[in-house]
């Protein structure tokens, strides 16, 4: 007796490709300022440092050049945390001024997933920039509306 197919047709690419996939949807538009605070000698700081590195890549920073990423190094073995200060429109959406992740027990992939779930969605929708018409296009529109103009005499 044959059983119906179950399982995957393709094998997963592993953690690295999952991180890459999450990174593609990371959007900093709703964030004014990111403060990453950690103690380098504390335990479980690796994921925070990796997340900081990923936030500093050009592709992510280009989503919002105005967003500042600040790093606070502390020496009192506090657990690591990442704070995202939101812009006004995002604050209204989220009903909070800033979102804080306590990242000592989260892996890099989980941090990115949570970020995409909670903060990337707060990005304001992109305004479609009005297209600048060239002279030829304007003439075409005008010519189509008001009849053909007389051809120029050289």
């Amino acid at each position: 007796m044959s059983i119906p197919f179950s399982g995957t047709l393709r094998r997963s690419g592993g953690v690295v490709s999952a991180i890459g996939k999450q990174l593609k949807s990371v959007n900093l538009k709703g964030v004014k300022r990111v403060t990453v605070q950690f103690d380098p000698f504390a335990e479980n700081v690796k994921s925070t440092r990796e997340f900081l590195f990923l936030l500093s890549t050009p592709k992510v920073t280009q989503t919002n050049p105005k967003c500042v990423v600040k790093t606070d190094i502390v020496c009192d073995r506090q657990p690591a945390q990442i704070k995202f200060s939101l812009i006004e429109s995002a604050q209204e959406l989220a009903k909070a001024k800033e979102i804080r992740f306590r990242s000592s027990n989260l892996s890099t992939l989980e941090l990115l997933q949570l970020y995409n779930k909670h903060v990337s969605t707060l990005a304001p929708p992109e305004e479609i920039a009005t297209k600048v018409l060239t002279k030829a296009e304007k003439q075409k529109i005008a010519g189509g509306g008001g009849g053909k103009k007389a051809p120029k005499k050289k």
Binding site: R49, F53, P58, I73, C75
Partner: protein, 249 residues
């Protein structure tokens, strides 16, 4: 028979030459060998070796990745790291964010001009170098992208000034004169006054106890002298005023 012929007619023998050429130009065929004769095939079938497979249960839950053989080059680099650590009086460790090679080179040049050397090694190599030595405490700093600055002198202020211009380098901690310092301690160290002024401050503190006692013993006499001074000045001023009045008259 050929021996008999050799003895009787030495020039009549024909011997096969030492070198007999089997192939001449032309490409040899190894991809489509012809099917062997049945007898030959039978011999081959009987004589091919059969190696026993290891029982699958041994490798059942083990990963299929091959264990990498240990590379002695890693030990050489570990020795280099240990040398740098032991012979530099200042070691600073930075977290490195995403940075272009051009920018990193510019920083490297700036640091080199101040006799500071920017280097980076892998975590396994550093663990190998530092594992059982007194430098073991710096290991947690190397879990992520990093770089190390070695220097023979201890100009922490210069280092901080140069790296402040580079936002991608985040100071995590360092070793100055065999003492592990955190980031805040390094910043405080850079703001300390130089040795002479520190020595002067120490001398002053030591003298303060005795000086305090002397001052307290002398307060009454000092007060009396001050009052007399003020009084004397007052008398002088009044006598000057009198003489000027008389001369005016």
């Amino acid at each position: 028979m050929s021996n008999l012929m050799q003895q009787a007619l030495p020039l009549a023998t024909s011997r096969t030459p030492l070198l007999q050429f089997l192939r001449f130009r032309g490409k040899i065929n190894i991809q489509k060998p012809r099917a062997p004769h049945y007898e030959r095939a039978r011999v081959i079938a009987v004589t091919t070796p059969k190696y026993p497979d290891p029982p699958k249960a041994i490798t059942c839950f083990k990963k299929r990745t091959q264990a990498q053989p240990e590379n002695p080059y890693n030990d050489i680099i570990a020795r280099e790291v240990r040398n740098w650590l032991e012979h530099s009086s200042m070691v600073a460790i930075f977290h490195l964010n995403s940075i272009t090679a051009d920018e990193l080179y510019a920083v490297r040049v700036q640091l080199f001009k101040q006799n500071m050397h920017l280097k980076s090694y892998g975590r396994k190599i550093i663990a190998n170098a530092v594992g059982d030595t007194r430098f073991e405490a710096i290991l947690p700093l190397f879990h992520s992208n990093h770089c190390i600055v070695f220097s023979a002198d201890q100009r922490v202020g210069t280092l901080l000034r140069l790296t402040r211009k580079v936002p991608q380098m985040v100071l995590l901690g360092g070793i100055v004169e065999n003492t592990l310092l955190s980031r805040n301690e390094l910043v405080a160290y850079s703001q300390l006054p130089n040795l002479q002024s520190a020595q002067a401050e120490l001398v002053q503190t030591l003298n303060m106890a005795a000086g305090n006692l002397v001052q307290q013993l002398q307060t009454h006499q000092q007060n009396f002298v001050n009052v007399l001074d003020v009084h004397a000045k007052g008398v002088e001023q009044s006598t000057e005023a009198d003489t000027s009045k008389q001369s005016d008259k």
